[in-house]
Amino acid sequence: MEYNAGRKGKYNSAFFVRNIKRRNLMFKTVLSLFIVVVLALIIAAVSNILIRGYVGLGESIRSPEIIFSLKLSLYTSVVSTALCIVFAVPIAYGLVKVNFPGKIVANSILNLPLSLPPVVSGVSLLMLFGGTEFGRSLADLGLKFVFDVKGIILAQFFVNISYMLRIVKSTLEDINPRLEFVSRTLGCTQMQSFFKVTLPLAKNGLIAGIVITWARAIGEFGAALMLVGATRMKTETLPVSLFLNMSTGDLKLAMASASIIITVSIVSLLIFEIIGLKNKSVSKIG
């Protein structure tokens, strides 16, 4: 038997050591390079907006229209994100844990809104809730979506649900099924086990999903525009107001709205980031 391949010292030779050092250093350099390039791109692009935007910011932040749209944006994005969580989590669980015929097809259909341009999503929702008997009966029941704030939420939900789902699903797939099983031997029903074990273990993925969904909801306007229009002080979210200003050719005002969106999202993302870190320091190894 030749158990002496690579015997003592072979891999420890000066050359080998230096080589590894160099390669690890290179790795770190490459990592930093990638980060710096993308950071620079984003900062350069966004700061262009901020520089132009902050000139008009003081004025526009006080206008009742901007205040209205800020509030509307926050309201609709929070509600639609909450709805996405409520739907995506159980669906993802079902898709991961339960086998049923047609699962692959169901999966692909649930991914569909991902690739629809928002305008198309908007038109299709309009057709469904505006143009069909079904939509009219819903409207009679008080669930009116066309030209209504509820429509903004619906549009954001439709446009975002697939994102949430994909992310939550991929997280759930990585959870050890034995942990859930153990919780059931300890007395959990399937649902309790889901809430007490699966969901907390999926925390990182959930946070990612919420951040993405919420950020998208704050920025979405293509679909909502189609479904509810852009009526001043009624269905005018921040991005709609931005779009309106943009198409008036009023670049300064538009950049001001954009600056507000950017500011709002920087602040919220920072908060998320900090909350995330806090949670982590509790449950991970130092």
């Binding site: 099983f181 153990v182 031997t185 007395g187 074990v197 449950s283």
Partner: protein
């Protein structure tokens, strides 16, 4: 009483073959066998992780096929602990009790007793990722002891403990068993442990049961050469001393 009747279960290339076992109430039943013979698979099937391919499992005469794991009132200690990584030691241990709506004082009292008994009171606030192997194992044992389940399934519960600690817990477990007579199925590799604890021992090999009997029967009347060789190693001399 647990009855396993003609149980067959195929997992990949592995097959549990014609398992027939009757485990009496209050019995302390130990399963011994080389690695990879299906000991863990039997426990997992009893607990409801796998559906048998054929055969039946009866608890007190009742068919269990359609019982969910949580309806079997079983405590399971996994070979690799399976602590909930998002909960600290205290929360891990109280996990089952909290589901059972017991009074707060009772819960605290029980937790205290168990933490002391297993020497892990200083770890109450720690998360599993920071615990040593033996510490995790003790938490995993504590997690089911607080529940006093009808049946305890212990998959090498002491493998990560040093001999002193192990011995302490063995006698503690024996005491508990004498007191509460919980039906226990215990997998181990340690002959000392097997012979010290078992009312009856089951020897398995390659997915089959080779012999079931009291420790004495196994030692003095092994049914075939495999059993004789499997338990007839050096430690045997020692075993006889401790077991009797």
């Amino acid at each position: 009483m647990i009855e396993i009747i003609d149980l067959n279960k195929t997992l990949g290339d592995f097959r549990l073959r014609n398992i027939n076992l009757k485990i009496e109430d209050n019995e302390y039943f130990v399963i011994l066998g080389p690695t990879g013979t299906g000991k863990t698979v039997i426990l997992e099937t009893l607990a409801g992780m796998y559906k048998p391919d054929t055969g039946r499992i009866l608890f007190d005469g009742k068919e269990t096929l359609h019982l969910y794991p949580e309806q079997r009132n079983i405590g399971f200690v996994y070979q690799d602990y399976m602590l909930f990584p998002h909960l600290n030691v205290r929360e891990n241990i109280l996990f089952g009790l909290k589901l059972r709506k017991t009074s707060h004082e009772f819960m605290e009292k029980k937790l205290d007793d168990i933490l002391k008994m297993l020497n892990i009171d200083h770890l109450e606030k720690r998360y599993p990722a920071t615990l040593s192997g033996g510490e995790q194992q003790r938490v995993s044992i504590a997690r089911i002891l607080v529940l006093s389940p009808d049946i305890m399934l212990l998959d090498e519960p002491f493998s990560a403990l040093d001999p002193r600690t192990k011995q302490e817990f063995q006698s503690e477990l024996k005491k508990l068993h004498r007191e509460f007579k919980t039906t226990t199925i215990h997998i181990t590799h340690d002959f000392n442990e097997a012979f010290a604890l078992a009312d009856r021992i089951c020897i398995m090999n390659k997915g089959e049961i080779i012999q079931v009997g009291t420790p004495d029967e196994i030692i003095y009347h092994p049914v075939n050469e495999f059993v004789a060789r499997f338990i007839g190693c050096d430690t045997m001399k020692n075993v006889k001393i401790t077991a009797v």
